[in-house]
């Protein structure tokens, strides 16, 4: 009984008080290409160990060649998205594939936009 009353009081209070300041939550990716890139990164992470080991067998001068050919086939059998080469470092905000600075993961346009609005810590217009 007391607990129920308290619950009701809490709910009332919560309605009265605003919820704590919400952070920006990204529920959608910018575009499908970004989504595919995300998938590729996930599968690459999952198969990374296997790929490393099979490649160690392949790029070998000690083991017999037959074994290496078998390893070649095995690695080819892995899902295509598991190779890290297919990953493209896109801009995080605009999904732009080119002109992306690695340190900030942003395309040059977005970077310039934020830097001019003084929202990039430690970034200043160059003048010398």
């Amino acid at each position: 009984m007391a607990a129920a009353a308290l619950c009701w009081a809490l709910r009332a209070a919560r309605q009265v008080l605003p919820p704590p300041c919400p952070r920006q939550v990204r529920s959608y990716y910018v575009d499908w290409r970004m989504l595919r890139d995300v998938k590729r990164r996930k599968t690459a992470y999952e198969h990374a160990d296997e790929r490393l080991r099979i490649n160690a067998i392949r790029k070998n001068s000690i083991l017999p060649k037959e074994l290496q050919e078998v390893a070649d086939k095995e690695i080819a059998a892995l899902p295509r998205d598991s190779c890290p080469v297919r990953i493209r470092n896109r801009c995080v905000l605009t999904s732009r594939p080119r002109g992306v600075k690695r340190r900030w993961r942003l395309s040059r346009i977005v970077f310039r936009h934020f830097a001019d609005h003084a929202q990039m810590s430690g970034v200043q217009r160059a003048m010398w």
Partner: protein, 326 residues
């Protein structure tokens, strides 16, 4: 009574010193000295001391006769031994008293001087920290004897204070004396029965909850959500972020989350994991290279390294038929 006590203390000193003169009667001299002196000593102390001194004197003084000359230097020697220069008048008075009373002068003198010393010490103590005596007096409101135990404690405390070479006060002595006094004042007296003793009932065993029910969890979540006010300033915001895990804890600990309890030898000496492999051949050669590489790898945990080797073992076992064809 004070005057008489003082007189008796002061007379032996006088008498012993002026016996050489032999001119005035010791009692007259005593009276003169006492008239001039103002001895501040508590009532009972004096009486006790007098009684003690009298009893001692009666027992001992019948033996030796007047040894004034002998006693003087002894008295002075004792004085110097004590280290504290007594009032010369008091010394004279003590010697006079000793001579006047029919007992062993030396011993009487020594005892009187000892008592005088104690007097002085107590007076000094009272001057310095008379709070204790006042407390006693006020709390009890009747003149009570200072028990010899207390006295001895105080004396010992004093002596220890004086003699301690480090210069540090011996606290326990003092505190025990104070506590003894306070205890006496606290526990003495009728109980007022204002405060009822809190009944310390044995707390009932905690209700054994098998697992917090969903409703309890929800309730807890609601409480947390309501009580969590939005941060008032940047500091509180940072605190909240740190709790959530968004912000690192400063000063930054490079080994957060990394709990590698394995010793270095477990990382480097991985030969023992190579038992499942054939001892000769290219595979062994290959695996030894793998192990060499792993031993130099600081980023993997021991568990990961072992898994690496085991994967290879499994892989080569699967390919055994193929390998034997070769």
């Amino acid at each position: 009574k004070d005057k008489s006590a003082a007189s008796k203390d002061s007379s032996p000193e006088e008498a012993s010193k002026r016996q050489e003169d032999g001119a005035e009667t010791p009692k007259q001299q005593l009276l003169d000295i006492i008239g001039n002196m103002k001895v501040e000593v508590s009532y009972r102390k004096k009486l006790q001391q007098l009684k003690a001194s009298e009893s001692k004197k009666q027992a001992l003084n019948r033996g030796e006769g007047p040894d004034s000359e002998g006693s003087l230097p002894q008295g002075t020697a004792e004085d110097t031994q004590r280290g504290k220069p007594l009032n010369p008048e008091l010394v004279k008075a003590a010697s006079a008293v000793a001579s006047s009373l029919p007992r062993n002068q030396k011993q009487t003198e020594s005892e009187l001087l000892a008592q005088l010393r104690r007097h002085e010490e107590t007076t000094d103590k009272q001057k310095k920290g008379g709070i204790i005596n006042l407390r006693n007096v006020i709390s009890e409101m009747t003149v009570k004897r200072q028990t010899p135990a207390q006295r001895n404690v105080r004396l010992s405390g004093r002596i220890s204070l004086q003699l301690d070479e480090d210069g540090q006060k011996i606290r326990p002595g003092r505190s025990s004396a104070q506590s003894v006094d306070s205890r006496r004042s606290l526990k003495v007296g009728k109980r007022l029965n204002i405060f009822t003793k809190a009944s310390t009932e044995p707390e009932h065993a905690l209700k054994t909850v098998s697992s917090p029910t969903i409703w309890d969890l929800e309730f807890a979540k609601e409480v947390a959500a309501v009580t969590a006010q939005p941060p008032r300033n940047g500091f509180e915001e940072m605190i909240q972020w740190t709790k959530e895990g968004i912000l690192w804890e400063f000063p930054i600990d490079n080994e957060v989350g990394m709990e590698d309890d394995a010793e270095f030898h477990e990382h480097i000496f991985l030969d023992k994991h190579l038992e499942g492999f054939p001892k000769e051949g290219p595979i062994r050669h290959f695996m030894e290279l793998v192990i060499c590489g792993l031993s130099k790898n600081p980023y993997l945990t021991v568990k990961q390294k072992v898994e690496h080797i085991e994967w290879f073992q499994k892989y080569f076992e699967e390919k055994k038929e193929l390998l034997q064809e070769i």
